[in-house]
């Protein structure tokens, strides 16, 4: 801190020249009021008194002049816009990123102030100390970045935007905000970016910093306990096992009560105590056939910083069998699935016409894949759009490598599988061509891909580019496992065997009537609108708050979709001290940012006080007059 003030508008010093006419006019006083008195004899004695002519009395006689000079000096100083220099470089354009993720709503047990309010206070202080050549832009950071203001020095606009800032019940993601700031730096020179956060975000950020990031870490809040996972799985007996995971922040041990409501009726309740940083999974079993709405309510036994993670919602679908179409040519698949009682296999022998929609299609030709289905598996052909890149040759080949983490190939061993049809890359074709079309290679052969995956809007598609029946695969133990994985995948896609609670920040896609408008009412009362695509999917709706979203429109029939926070990181309230960027780490600053402090307001106030003093001095009752 430099205690010598700087002046932003030094040219204001020219106004000091007004001192000259002030002094001249004071002493000349062209119109001195005349007062007729009977005799000057007494007044002459008074004026000649030694005490009147003492230096102090002379000073007292000129005190009005002194006050006027001081008043002018302070006014001119205010005009010169002085400021106390902080010593740090003064940024002309300063973007301020403010974390608005769920953890910023965490409150302190003593002050009951949320982290966002704390950040708001600090940013307000910066705005108050804004100098005339400085511009600030406010950016809210949650799961995405949202620019609140342009670069401006309008304190009213900045404070209005700051006061309108609310916490979103979403995890924070810093990359978007940094990219937005990087885009801003192309229009204005940005040296430093301020980031106010409680430190609850992923430690590693994939971003190359083109500017200096000043990470202002806010003090941590109190303890918190919350629901971080809520899902259900249908068990063998047809009941649903409901799993709720609770996590406690590392600060204090917390008692809590968890309550499970099924269609608003409490069906289970359990009391538990979670140690510091503990996590516990609780299992309940419920019975439903026609589907139910579950709600988990956590009641903390002691202070809880974050209320947003104390509720979670889950929708259990109604029970039904999977509808599976298998091309008659693919006997191995039909054989592998024939014993499963929960499946309805098509085409049946008696009738050739099946349902209009299927859950799973396993087809040997592309025409069979045209039917609508959640999951499709093509076997033994190259999709038409890929035929320019891949061709099939009748040649023995085997598997080189496969994606072991793929849901379809989980626990599937493909070593030593002999294949009689070999997909071969066309000249100059490669994986990138397939990726351009949305395909992912799951199994690599010697000269080309063997298995492809593609997510086509609501459909999940797999393509074996060789006929599995013309390989040793059906004879290997991996084949039934792969088929079982396929069924599990279909169950997941259909959402009838395992369901997971939806989490912020986006509503899960729902299917209604194609190309229709739908109104969505958020838990905080806002109205959103969305339009279904040609497949009837309504997707990409922002769900920034925990609670129930009501969708109205054709086919929606006032459907309710509930979302929960369900984020272990936000619940834990763990804060990081260092952000790891691609090249350099950024450490949290423990000291508050020291900005230049403008002084013109103080000087103006002093000038005003001097004006009042001068007025009082001029108007006051003369001393010596008996009351």
């Amino acid at each position: 801190m430099n205690f010598w003030p700087g002046f932003y508008s030094l040219q204001g010093a020219w106004y000091l020249l007004l001192l000259v006419p002030l002094v001249i006019f004071y002493f000349l006083k062209l119109k001195r009021p005349h007062k007729h008195v009977p005799s000057l004899a007494l007044w002459s004695q008074v004026i000649n008194d030694r005490r009147v002519n003492s230096p102090f009395q002379k000073f007292k006689r000129s005190i009005l002049l002194l006050l006027q000079i001081l008043l002018l000096l302070f006014l001119v100083l205010s005009l010169m816009q002085p400021y106390i220099q902080s010593g740090s470089d003064r940024a002309q354009y300063l973007p301020i990123l403010i974390d608005c993720s769920a953890s910023m709503a965490a409150t302190d047990p003593d002050t009951k102030i949320s982290r966002l309010d704390l950040a708001r206070e600090r940013v307000t202080e910066l705005i108050d100390n804004l100098l005339p050549d400085q511009r600030i832009s406010l950016v809210a950071v949650s799961s995405t970045a949202h620019r609140l203001t342009d670069f401006t020095d309008n304190q009213r606009v900045l404070k209005q935007a700051l006061n309108g800032l609310t916490v979103d019940d979403v995890p924070s993601k810093l990359e978007d905000a940094l990219r937005m700031t990087q885009a801003l730096s192309r229009t204005v020179p940005i040296k430093t970016v301020l980031f106010y956060s409680d430190g609850n975000f992923p430690k590693e950020v994939s971003f190359d910093l083109p500017f200096e990031l000043n990470y202002q870490k806010l003090p941590s809040a109190g303890s918190n306990i919350g629901i971080t996972s809520f899902n259900a799985r249908k068990n063998q007996s047809g009941n649903w096992d409901v799993f709720i995971r609770l996590e406690n922040s590392p600060k204090y041990e917390n008692p809590a009560t968890i309550e499970l409501k099924q269609d608003s009726q409490t069906v289970a309740k359990e009391e538990l105590v979670l140690g510091k940083g503990d996590s516990q999974r609780i299992e309940f079993s419920i019975n439903t056939i026609s589907g139910s709405a579950l709600e988990a309510v956590l009641t903390p036994g002691s202070f809880d910083s974050l209320p947003a993670d104390n509720r979670a919602f889950l929708k259990i679908p109604s029970a039904r069998s999977l509808l599976v179409f298998i091309s008659p040519d693919l006997a191995s698949y039909r054989y592998a699935l024939s014993e499963n009682k929960d499946l309805e296999l098509y085409p049946e022998k008696e009738e050739s016409a099946g349902p209009a929609e299927y859950d799973l299609i396993i087809a040997a030709s592309e025409t069979d894949l045209d039917k609508p289905a959640l999951v499709k598996l093509g076997v033994g052909f190259v999709p038409e759009e890929l035929q320019q890149y891949i061709s099939l040759e009748t040649k023995l080949t085997d598997v080189v490598d496969w994606n072991r983490s793929s849901a379809l190939l989980r626990h599937v061993e493909l070593n030593d599988v002999q294949i009689t049809e070999q997909p071969v890359w066309a000249e100059n074709a490669g994986v990138e061509n397939l990726e351009g079309l949305g395909y992912e290679v799951l199994v690599h052969g010697r000269l080309g891909p063997l298995l492809l995956q593609k997510r086509n809007s609501g459909e999940l598609e797999f393509y074996f580019l060789f006929n599995t029946d013309h390989s040793t695969m059906p004879y290997r133990v991996g084949f039934p496992i792969m088929v079982s994985n396929l069924i599990q995948l279909t169950l997941q896609e259909a959402g009838i065997a395992e369901v997971q609670a939806s989490a912020t920040p986006v509503l899960p896609a729902v299917e209604y009537v194609p190309e229709k408008k739908y109104q969505i009412r958020t838990p905080d009362g806002q109205q959103l609108s969305a339009e279904s695509n040609k497949n009837g999917l309504v997707s990409g709706i922002a769900a920034l708050h925990v609670g129930k979203y009501l969708i109205t429109g054709e086919g929606a029939d006032s459907a309710e979709i509930c979302v929960s926070l369900l984020n272990p990181q936000e619940t834990s309230l763990v804060s990081i001290d260092e952000i790891q960027f691609s090249e350099v780490p950024v450490t949290a600053s423990q000291t508050q940012i020291d900005s230049d402090k403008p002084l013109w307001v103080e000087f103006a106030v002093i000038a005003f006080v001097l004006l009042l003093v001068e007025w009082w001095y001029f108007q006051r009752r003369p001393v010596g007059i008996p009351s």
């Binding site: 009021p33 009977p38 007044w43 008194d49 009752r621």
Partner: protein, 301 residues
């Protein structure tokens, strides 16, 4: 300043009721400065009146007619019986009629007080004369010595017709009066005494002329408690001289000190010459001054 006289009032200076009260009052000088001529003022010296005063030893040459023969018969020693001497006392009213008195009824109060003192003198068979001084160097307006109730109207008319205005300082005015005045008695000097000059010399001359000085300082309320502030240019009413003062409010304390000093100085000058001094606020009522202040201070009986 001339006052309109109401048809049923004897004088415009005060009403008949006050006049009748004044007629019963008389001056109470501390010294017995009287003229040799016989009058009705009781002198401290032995005289020939019918009022007994004292006894003293007989010395050769005394008039044997005043020997108390009753005492001589008892004590066989002659004692002279003394009587009070009734002599004439001259009451001189000196009014300062300069411009400085033309403020806040100061001169009216002077006229009223002079009339009151004059009435007391006339009705006690004293010789009363009055002088009004306004122009420096000029001869003061004079009311020749007169006595008795019959002269009361003359006195009132003289006082009522005095024109205020001029630059005569009080010290010079007294000297001017003494040039034409003869006789011993009481000199009542009515002025504001706001003069640059020294009053020692004129007071000495009054004392030497056998006058007991009754100094009456008449000040206006604005002179006793001036309410001024800021930077001003003061203009003297007599000389037209100006004086610039700054922060007048701060000087008021000193002003009060100097005014008190002037009062003390004047009181001392009078006291040293067996006289009396009093400051009167022209804002106070005449009744208060005459029947309260003057009485309490023993100026009148």
């Amino acid at each position: 300043m001339s006052q309109e006289t109401l048809p049923n009032q004897y004088t415009s200076l005060f009403d008949n009721k006050m006049l009748s009260m004044l007629e019963r009052m008389r001056l109470n000088p501390t010294r017995r400065l009287t003229n040799r001529s016989r009058g009705e003022h009781l002198s401290g010296k032995g005289g020939t009146s019918t009022e007994f005063s004292d006894y003293r030893n007989y010395v050769a040459g005394d008039d044997v007619r005043y020997i108390d023969w009753n005492i001589f018969s008892r004590l066989n020693r002659p004692y002279m019986k003394q009587y009070q001497h009734e002599e004439e006392m001259h009451v001189v009213l000196i009014l300062d009629a300069s411009s400085s008195m033309d403020y806040e009824d100061k001169f009216l109060r002077c006229q009223q007080l002079a009339a009151a003192f004059g009435v007391m003198g006339l009705l006690n068979f004293e010789k009363v004369s009055a002088y009004a001084c306004n122009q420096k160097g000029g001869r003061p307006a004079k009311l020749s010595p007169c006595t008795g109730r019959i002269s009361m109207k003359r006195l009132f008319d003289f006082l009522a017709k005095i024109q205020v205005g001029g630059d005569s300082p009080i010290e010079e005015a007294i000297e001017d009066v003494l040039r034409s005045h003869r006789g011993r008695g009481v000199a009542i000097v009515l002025s504001d005494y706001e003069s640059f000059g020294d009053l020692q010399r004129p007071f000495n001359m009054l004392f030497s002329a056998g006058m007991e000085i009754f100094g009456v300082q008449v000040l206006g309320p604005a002179e006793i408690n001036p309410e001024i502030n800021g930077d001003l240019r003061l203009v003297d009413s007599e000389s037209g001289q100006t004086l610039d003062i700054s922060s007048a409010g701060d000087l008021l304390r000193l002003y009060h000190e100097h005014r008190a000093l002037l009062e003390d100085h004047l009181a001392m000058l009078c006291r040293q010459r067996s006289g009396r001094f009093m400051t009167i606020n022209s804002g106070d009522s005449l009744e208060h001054v005459l029947f309260d202040q003057l009485r309490r201070k023993g100026w009148v009986l």
